[in-house]
Subunit: 339 residues, 2 copies
């Protein structure tokens, strides 16, 4: 009964939610039907991507961020928070499980927080598609804040960052002399840069290096402050082309220092997006990206069904003997499928 | 004249090589024909993958490794060395160019070393396919050692590591308390673990942590030494299933310390692979992986040609309005293409 199941998710039933997530992660037919029924109810949550190298204290930061959202300083009703922790560096074994255990100690007992970990189990496309599916279930189920946490700063993370409205890149002091080389890509995905462990030696240097880099990318950089406030800038000189200058924020996640500023900065970013057409643009990009990923997966699986595995194996064997090039083999395999 | 061009590459003409690399990187028809002509001449080189987080000194290590191969201690004829530097963290701007300049200072003037940098310019699949193409050109052109250097430890790096016979994972001291969480995936791709900057504080801890982890993965771990020598182990208790226990080597790339041990370890690894059927197995995996990547790209491009862009745009617009789910849209788009 996928439709009943979807309705139970919409009603906020926790067991239904857990079961839906499992169906979607396992890419079952029922999971697809649930997603189909939930899709019209999505589009309300603030999706926050958090990425950064191992060792930056990213998971602790995400925990603190979730707790901060659950205890708003102004006494308003707190939003419900979902955390989707994605580990693309762990393609074979259950790296994500360890993460789960550590998290549970901090966050257990608050029914307004829901945590789901995923390890990569196949292609990158599959991981991004599954992540998008989980996020949409949480969105439909009424979680107002959804934090998507990924390890590293490679293409996988860029792809998963594309799912988010606001992307936080976490750094830590002491990553040393190659700092310039990592930033070309990061500057273009980061809405907020966090230097965590900012009580450690070298934090000032890391903060300064990041701010200098931002000044170069945004010649009007004298307006940068630490609080992610909306900047009045000339969009023609803004290389990111969207008028938002990333904030650079120091935090100490283990003690919670800097977390309120981070929440303010995230709220400022979402206000900024919604005050312009950027929110809509990001939504469009997100959905286009999801469509593309699903299309690639579907084309591959359709091809697979239309050709005998023997033909594939025979072509592969010839390639391995270097009697046939991979390029020619692909031509023959596509013709052979008679699609 | 792609065939003449391919012949010039086989003859070792440097200009022809450079032009071929550009054609292949740009995925031109001529590039494909050159690859086709060169493919039967591939399969001789030792392909070495080097990956690691930014800040580990990976590029300096690769430079030193190339120089070490060019100055063999035993006075034999040195192999020619190609370096393919891939930067998947830089999806939009030319991060790779900076890397080039730094490298040139060290390695310029040795005609036996050829360096090519690539930044990610589209999909991950495209990057891996282009990298595989460049590697095959160098292989056919007679470079005996081909070093594929990537940044980070995400899925992109795992994919690119699959291109290599021997994968080096570079660590540095001080990445701190999350060391366990990064290792699940790394243990399964690393043939050799290098702790670079091993003159820095914390190096002993990092070395010890990595060795402990390896001991747990290989219960017969008392046989581990620093030199990558072939181990007599019980393959039934070897979790990686291939009988090779990764060496853990300290290096100081800036001074060259530890580099000769690294070369010995690489030579031991290639001897190990060739003494069993593992070399052949890795070749098969590499080529299968390449075939899969090319197939995905070809299916997508074939679909694109068979459907009007208007139909795609109309479906996308409905998805964005949440009138149509991405899953249903993909079904309709595939049917609409009439493939």
């Amino acid at each position: 009964m996928p439709v009943n199941h979807a309705q139970a998710v919409l009603n906020g039933e926790r067991l239904a939610l857990t079961r839906a997530l499992t169906q979607i992660e396992n890419n079952t037919a029922e999971g697809l039907e649930i997603l189909e029924a939930l899709f019209p109810h999505t589009g309300k949550a603030h999706l926050i991507g958090v990425t950064g190298a191992p060792g930056t204290g990213k998971s602790t930061l995400v925990n603190q961020l979730a707790l901060a959202y659950r205890q708003p300083a102004d006494g308003t009703i707190p939003p419900r928070v979902a955390i989707v922790a994605v580990d693309p560096t762990s393609p074979f074994t259950g790296g994500a499980i360890l993460g789960d255990r550590v998290r549970m100690q901090d966050l257990t007992g608050d029914p307004g927080i829901f945590i789901r970990s995923m390890a990569s189990r196949g292609s990158l496309g599959g991981l991004a598609a599954a992540t998008a599916g989980l996020v949409q279930v949480f969105d439909a189920a009424g979680f107002e804040i959804i934090i998507i946490e990924t390890v590293g700063a490679g293409q996988a993370e860029v792809d998963i960052a594309r799912l988010a409205h606001s992307t936080i890149v976490v750094e830590a002091p002491g990553l040393g002399d190659e700092i310039q080389t990592i930033k070309a890509g990061i500057l273009e995905i980061a809405d907020i840069l966090v230097v965590n462990k900012s009580d450690k030696p070298g934090a000032e240097n890391t903060l300064r290096a990041l701010r200098n880099m931002l000044s170069m990318a945004h010649p009007e950089g004298k307006h940068i402050n630490h609080h992610g406030q909306l900047m009045e800038i000339d969009s023609e000189t803004d290389q990111t082309g969207n008028g938002w200058i990333p904030a650079v924020l120091p935090t100490v996640a283990t003690s919670g220092e800097g977390i309120p500023d981070l929440v303010s900065s995230l709220n400022a970013h979402i206000d900024f997006l919604k005050s312009s057409d950027l929110w809509q643009l990001r939504e469009e990009k997100r959905l286009k990206n999801q469509l593309e990923t699903l299309l690639g997966t579907a084309l591959r699986s359709r091809w697979e069904k239309s050709i005998s595995p023997d033909i594939y194996q025979a072509a592969l064997a010839k390639v391995i003997k270097r009697e046939l090039s991979p390029w020619r083999a692909v031509e023959e395999l596509i013709q052979g499928a008679g699609l």
